[in-house]
Amino acid sequence: MTIIKTPDVAAPITIELDDVQATVLRQRPAPYYGTHVLLRVDDARSGRALLRRLTPHVDSAAEWWRASDAWLAVAISYTGFDALGLPQPALRSFPDAFRAGMAARSAELRDEGVNAPKNWEFPFGTGQVHIGLSAFSGSLEKWHRIVEIARDQYENFSGVAVLQAQDFGQQPGDLNSLGYKDGIDQPPIEGSGVAPLPGQGRPIKAGEFILGYPGETGAPLPGPRPDVLGRNGTYVGLRKYQTLVGSFNRFLQAHAQTDDERELLAAKLVGRWRSGAPLALAPDVDDAALGNDPERNNDFGYRDDPHGLHVPLGSHIRRMNPRDTSLALLTDVNLHRVIRRGTTYGPPYDPTAVSVEDDQIPRGAYFLFMSAKAPATIEFLQQEWVNSGNFVGLAEERDPIIGLQEQDAIFTVPKAPVRRRIRDIQTFNVLRGGEYFFMPSLSALRWLGEEH
């Protein structure tokens, strides 16, 4: 059932919703289906013509809180803007990280070892990924229809090549590749028209997520020029992960004896149980009713758990959003939020999978995240909150779900009287590729498609 929010009449809508692409605000439906398509533009005129054909089919975020039909989202990489013939002054106005592309930022992203770009799958890291086109839907038939519409625009269109098309979703219970309900916590955006859900905290200034509006410090974040290109747009990051289900299950079996103990250990790694119920509210056993209730499943803080006895300081969701955790470093957590539109691909999680062959079955996550400074944010997260534990006094420990683990890596489970340090935690999600994109407003898409 798709969550239908009600508009908050008390809070004025200050974002130009009819110019922002729908996917920036419209939540992932439940159940969800869709397809990601990666395109290469071989000829600038053809590329612009493709944008002219696609743009009328791209929904805006107007009344985004209503249950909706399927929708399309279009985003363009730096090499894509270049291939489309965007003039040099505009190209130069993009930030360095976006211009370099995700592969060239591997040092900043700490994408080394197995995650290094030289190991990435084609077409990632080649510079050929120019346009990302995603179709989202809440039903099978609407999904088929929207994919047909999209294909009609780009298929057999000379001057544009399809590099990859990946279906996603269709997961039983919408569980992710490790068998967890995901995508629960989202940043509340001021002026978007809907009141925050319990636990989301106070609305964050729109400019942190959409260009052209004041950010948390009062000034708008820098955007590309001319104004028509940047305004109402946002940056999108894509990171495709392969989930090593066999490794994950072997780890649980090695460090816990009974099914209950394994589920508790897994919950300590994630910060939630499989149902989505947060450890902060259900410290001992899963609670499916809690996990399924959006009014309750995110309504918690960490003030009463300063040492992580309920929710380990290094658990995944506590790292990704520390909330009111007392951090070792002076931090404003509201500056590091991203909107998440992740999608699961491949066969569902298999609790019996333990072999190395199971690790190779193509299954995992397309981690999609958006903000007005998404490249800077993901680089911060990767350096400070994922591949380091310094910010919570955990030295070199890394995120147990998406961290790149070194040899003999440790995960600390705080306990009384003495903490338990579990050795030999592995990398459970391996990066297979990624890219930085810009998601233009509808005006910008029309402007980009024009012949000048």
Binding site: E216, A219, L329, L330, T331, L335, F380, E384, N390, A395
Partner: protein
């Protein structure tokens, strides 16, 4: 009887070392005598050490600056605004020269404020944890006034809230050519290890007394 094992003169690594040392001699040809003699004294040692594991090289700290392991350096040289030196000196003296409020930042190892050329410019240098870009926005959000009191002593400082602030810092920053850090430990790690060390000593004392 021990025999001296000579490194194989034909390994690629050794050829590189020999090239480097030959270049050093060339560069020092017009050095002051004191330097030339000193170089000759150490060359043999340098040659021997070069075949062992070299130390980890300096990396970039991000936009500007150098980093070794987890610790980065930031060195800024900047002209004072009119009256800036006088104001900043007085502000520093309020705290006995020790801006210990930086304890709360959690990433700052040290800071130095050095006034140069008759109070016309200054050098600001700090060792800190992580990359250049990482926490600047957080500082601007949490301690903007503290930063502006200090930085407004600098000619043309736009204010920490300005979108030009980062460009100003980068424009006045000089990346170090050499950087050495004794312990690859962050401020947070050091504080934790000190607490643990004290606890272990207390524990051992009790065991020892029993």
């Amino acid at each position: 009887m021990a025999t001296q094992v000579q490194p194989n003169p034909h390994t690629h690594a050794d050829v590189k070392v020999e090239e480097h040392l030959a270049k050093m001699r060339e560069l020092f040809a017009d050095a002051p005598e004191v330097g030339k003699k000193a170089l000759e004294n150490v060359l043999a040692r340098l040659e021997a050490q070069a075949s062992l594991n070299p130390p980890p090289p300096m990396e970039s700290a991000g936009r500007v600056g150098s980093r070794i392991g987890k610790v980065s350096e930031l060195t800024i040289i900047v002209p004072f605004a009119p009256g800036g030196a006088r104001r900043l000196r007085a502000f520093l003296q309020l705290f006995g020269g020790n801006l210990a409020g930086a304890d709360d930042v959690g990433t700052v190892h040290d800071m130095r404020f050095v006034f140069l050329d008759n109070d016309t410019k200054m050098l600001f240098a700090t060792a800190y944890d992580g990359d250049w870009d990482a926490y600047i926005d957080d500082f601007a959000s949490k301690i903007p006034d503290f930063l502006d009191i200090i930085d407004s002593a600098w000619e043309g400082w736009p204010g920490i809230r300005s979108p030009e602030a980062k460009d100003y810092l980068a424009a006045h920053q000089v990346t170090a050519e050499g950087w050495y850090v004794a312990n690859d430990l962050t401020v947070a790690e050091t504080r934790r290890l000190r607490r643990i060390g004290e606890a272990v000593d207390e524990f051992l004392d009790k065991v020892g007394d029993a």
